[in-house]
């Protein structure tokens, strides 16, 4: 067993009982069992992803005749082309961007400012605010769905903001607003915990130097929480991108749907062709997968950011 030097140091640093366990490790049959188990599990975990990937590259007639676990006669990207064009995916990807980008930016902006007030400026009633935001984020969406739906179908927007409905309903603004409202809660919670590590003296010094609240936030606090913002941004993008419910309920024009919700259309059009559906699903999952692989560190940091404090 060849453990790299760095890994060995890391192992000595935090693994169980220092020397004795390290000596024991190479021959231990127990470790072999664990390793085999982990390999089997990890591969098993990938099957539900690899299988659709494989199927999407083969004609449906072939898989239907030979089964999914057969060697390929034909491998091509035909289904991807078909899903891309037939499902009108470019349009839906654009819709997603129109919703997700403003929603993530606004969420992080508002949440970081609120967190700064609560955590570093000790705003009166800050604790209550924190509870209000955090608990709001945890409510199941369906609890607010009915009145929200009614409200959206009653509130007008000018035609240039919402066409053709001229309502908050069926507009990007409405979807962005509900995402911001929900996600701000989570981000305020995480960021206020994160900001607790910034020395308060730093802000007090800025105050003495005559900096107003805005300057303290923009110039002092924001640069210091950049890593947390990166992590949260990655995570929030994935969440908002993956949203299904809000768009399905609060929008009616099929052409305006974000891409995840638009997958529904792909199915109704090509009901029987599972390989095409697989290609469509993979195309839709691709951006989050890319973000995940490129920004893996940030993504994981985001997931655990709210969790490992204390």
């Amino acid at each position: 067993m060849s453990v790299g030097v760095g890994e060995r140091v890391a192992a000595g640093g935090r693994s169980t009982v220092g020397g004795s366990s390290r000596r024991k490790r190479p021959a231990s049959p127990w470790r072999v069992v664990i390793r085999v188990f982990l390999w089997a599990m990890a591969l098993g975990w990938l099957v539900p992803l690899l299988l659709p990937l494989y199927a999407s590259l083969r004609p449906y007639a072939e898989t239907a005749a030979e089964g999914y676990f057969s060697l390929p006669k034909t491998l091509n990207f035909d289904y991807y082309v078909q899903a891309w064009q037939g499902g009108n995916l470019p349009r839906h990807f654009l819709n997603t961007l129109l919703v997700a980008v403003p929603a993530v930016v606004l969420t992080l902006f508002f949440a970081s400012f609120v967190a700064f007030l609560i955590s570093r400026r000790r705003l009166p009633g800050g604790r209550l605010l924190l509870i209000l935001f955090t608990a709001g984020n945890l409510l199941p969406q369906q609890v607010v769905l009915t009145p929200l739906y009614l409200m959206y179908t009653k509130l007008p927007l000018p035609w240039w903001m919402s066409w053709p409905s001229e309502l908050v309903y069926d507009s990007y603004w409405g979807i962005i607003a509900i995402h911001v409202a929900f996600q701000t809660g989570f981000c305020v919670f995480v960021l206020s915990n994160y900001m607790d590590t910034i020395p308060r003296e730093l802000i007090e010094a800025a105050t003495v130097d005559g900096a107003g609240v805005w300057r303290q936030y923009w110039r002092v606090v924001l640069p210091l929480v950049r890593p947390a913002l990166g992590a949260l941004g990655t995570l929030e993008f994935a969440w908002i991108y993956n949203d299904f419910l809000w768009a399905v309920v609060l929008m009616s024009t099929g052409d305006k749907l974000p891409v995840t919700s638009a997958l529904n259309n792909l199915r109704s059009v090509y009901f029987t062709d599972y390989n095409l559906l697989a290609a469509g699903s993979i195309l839709v999952a691709l951006p989050t997968l890319i973000v995940f692989f490129v920004l893996q560190r940030q993504f994981v940091a985001g997931l655990t950011l709210g969790a490992n404090k204390g």
Partner: protein, 320 residues
């Protein structure tokens, strides 16, 4: 820096409005906000707060109000007292199945998927080689939306050409994994668990990395074996993670919607409370009062868990 409690009160000498004031008064002054500050705060706190109140808390309260009415969204709003609740409990066929499915969901995630995630985290915390590969494989599903998982499910579990039947050699005598109402919930739970395990593993792994190794060494010196060390020494220090995992598990179980909606709109064995709410307001028969009452039931269940979570979080903060 000058206004920290430990710093000497030198700031009185600094150029400012009224020199010579007692240090304590001036320190309070620094904490206050100028008119411009108040404008900035009003805008940047006001907007998110307004959104939070108008789009979340307002509607949540309105749901409670509407649940006592029989409203179709158009006509008059007539109060009917507890009628909706009585009706739901006594003669709304999908209600009890939905409650039961939500409970099964909760039990499966809480008693099977979560412990399994913890188990994987413990193994990965010891295993050094290929750990990145294992971790990535396990939490990759977390990136996917449950709607996409719902679509992939059809490929795997479809009756005639699905991979599951092929794998089990049942192509001639196929099982209808998603269509058969006595089986489909379990097929779905398998996929939901697939995604949940990775998330839980990640949270516990982060928690385990933060455990002071000296604790484990001390336990080993005292003669504890590995299971003893884990259950008596390591696990108790994971308490904060446990609470978060518990809340995520409960919330996921109550929020569950996307995956069943993507598969068959939550019918035929896949009913869930969240689907019933959606059905009653967006379906052809718009029964607002009815849907709201189901939403309130959902709200009551989740509020309990949210309260436990907040108490835990804020108590921890007070101790810190």
């Amino acid at each position: 820096m000058t206004s920290t409690p430990t710093a000497p009160p030198v700031e009185a000498g600094r150029a400012a409005d009224v020199p010579g004031r007692p240090a304590r008064r001036r320190r309070r002054r620094i904490g206050r906000f100028s008119p411009r500050d108040i404008a900035v705060i009003g805008l940047l706190l006001g907007l998110p707060l307004l959104l939070d109140l108008a789009l979340i808390w307002g509607p949540a309260l309105a749901s409670i109000g509407l649940s006592f009415t029989s409203w179709d969204g158009l006509g008059e709003i007539r109060p009917v007292g507890l009628d909706n609740y009585v009706n739901i409990v006594s003669n709304y066929p999908p209600f009890w199945p939905a409650v039961w499915h939500n409970l099964l969901w909760l039990a499966f995630l809480g008693l099977v998927a979560t412990p399994f995630g913890l188990f994987l985290a413990v193994l990965l915390d010891r295993e050094m080689r290929f750990t990145r590969f294992y971790q990535t494989a396990f939490y990759l599903p977390v990136v996917l939306s449950l709607a996409v998982v719902g679509f992939l499910a059809q490929l795997i579990f479809s009756r005639d050409y699905g991979a599951a039947n092929a794998l089990l050699g049942r192509a001639d005598n196929p099982v209808d994994w998603l269509g058969d109402p006595s089986i489909n919930l379990w097929s779905v739970l398998l996929l939901v668990g697939w995604r949940h395990v990775g998330y839980v593993m990640l949270l516990y792994l982060a928690g385990l990395k933060a455990v002071d190794p000296a604790l484990k060494e001390a336990a080993a010196i005292d003669g504890a074996n590995e299971p003893q060390t884990f259950f008596r020494v390591v696990f108790p220090t994971l308490r904060p993670v446990n609470v978060i995992v518990l809340v995520i598990t409960v919330i996921e179980a109550l929020r569950a919607f996307d995956i069943v909606y993507a598969i068959n709109r939550g019918r035929n064995g896949l009913e869930l409370l969240s689907v019933l709410v959606t059905d009653n307001i967006v379906g052809e028969a718009s029964r607002i009062g009815y849907g709201s009452a189901i939403a309130v039931i959902l709200l009551l269940i989740s509020t309990g868990f949210i309260a436990v979570y907040l108490v835990q979080v804020f108590r921890r903060e007070d101790e810190a």
